[in-house]
Symmetry: C2
Subunit: 217 residues, 2 copies
DNA sequence: TTGCATACATACACGCATGTATGTAACCTG
DNA sequence: CAGGTTACATACATGCGTGTATGTATGCAA
């Protein structure tokens, strides 16, 4: 069944296998145990394969990071206009076990200078995907409502905190208070959306019918 | 200078040195690089010393965890009555670089089964120090106001998220939006305190007999 | 078809952390 | 103060991951 394949096909397939194996190893056993032999054992290949495609583990981890950040950005094609929809999208991916792999790499970057030199730039670049500017419609509203951006970052950090709790719990399950916190976040997002929407509609009404603007604040 | 010391004095001093060295190593280089030789090198002793007092690294990490959780619980002697004061106490320790050591151990527990067997129980026990029940006055109020407990956990997870951002940033500094988020947290805590206080005063007024606690201060 | 680059596999030498065994000085008890 | 225990230091054997060098089979281009 091993049909003839082109060189690039074989390379891509091999790289994908190695990235997948490395990710699984990072999730299950952490960065320290994610050695070249372990990754190759999971991928079912010899170290020669790994050594041919990557110069080091850090090199491979770069591809792992790219792959993971792409997965975490799913559902971001349509621009999100509300904090609530942003939150829902974030909640759909925050509990993925792969977050632990990212966490391991974040820490490994700080612990290993050589790895950090390779990955810090990539981490910083990927982090911009989660800034308000990644949601153009929201970013515009935040110009009018700085409080909206504050709520955005509050939601962001809280989700990270919950994800960390999952990643460090024995079986990868969420804490007991998880649902309570999430409900609180949803309420906050909806309230802030209402505030931003309200003044927007006001402004629209005012611009079509000029009058006093003094009722705000 | 090296006066005669009793056995327990020498043991305690040695253990403290090893715990301190291990903590520093965890913060600066992570769990993977925190080997017996590295800890002993930092402590300025040989591996014989370590091997005499601890059976394994996990054993030593148990003491490290105890020491760290104690440090993070400082200022908790007087019972905190408000979410705001709880938050202020939490903020006074959340940015300590030692948080990274705890983080490393949390992950190491999940990655190394033997270490987890030794430390998971201790982690769970220490975690109870940060539940609402650790603040008796607050816990009582939460019985009347479940929303208060929701705010409590929201604050808790957000601070963890911010601490993680610090622990994983290249130089251990906080993110750009850190102050905005903290201000948001303070506002939330104060508002929730006001809500809980208001209905409490109402109830006190209804029972109308001044009694013991109604007019403290 | 020939020649070469690609895509792996195999084998060896090296560093490093660990476990253990043994030696020695300090302390403590009767 | 003598015997035993505690508190270390030193030394050796072992396992494991890594880097590197070399071998071999498969696509690919002239």
């Amino acid at each position: 069944m091993t049909a003839r394949q082109t060189h690039t096909q074989r390379s891509d397939a091999m790289k994908a296998k190695l990235v997948e194996a490395a990710t699984a190893s990072l999730v299950e056993r952490g960065y320290a145990a994610t050695t070249a032999v372990e990754v190759c054992r999971r991928a079912g290949v010899t170290r020669g394969a790994f050594n041919h495609h990557y110069t080091s583990l850090g090199d491979l981890c770069g591809d792992v990071l790219d792959d993971l950040y792409t997965r975490f950005s799913i559902g971001r094609d349509e621009p999100q206009a509300t904090l609530q929809s942003m939150l829902e999208q974030a909640l759909s991916v925050y509990a993925l076990p792969e977050f632990k792999a990212v966490l391991e790499l974040w820490l490994a970057c700080r612990n290993d200078a050589k790895l950090g030199a390779d990955l810090f730039a990539k981490v910083a670049a990927c982090a911009t995907r989660f800034e308000p500017s990644a949601y153009p419609h929201l970013a515009i509203r935040f110009k009018q409502h700085p409080s909206g951006e504050a709520v955005y970052w509050l939601i962001f950090e809280t989700i990270i905190g919950l994800a960390l709790a999952r990643a460090t719990s024995p079986m990868g399950e969420g804490p007991a208070h998880e649902s309570v916190v999430i409900e609180q976040l949803i309420t906050m997002a909806r309230d802030q959306d209402a505030v931003m929407c309200a003044t927007e509609n006001q402004k629209n009404a005012l611009s079509s019918q000029p009058g006093s603007e003094a009722n705000r604040r």
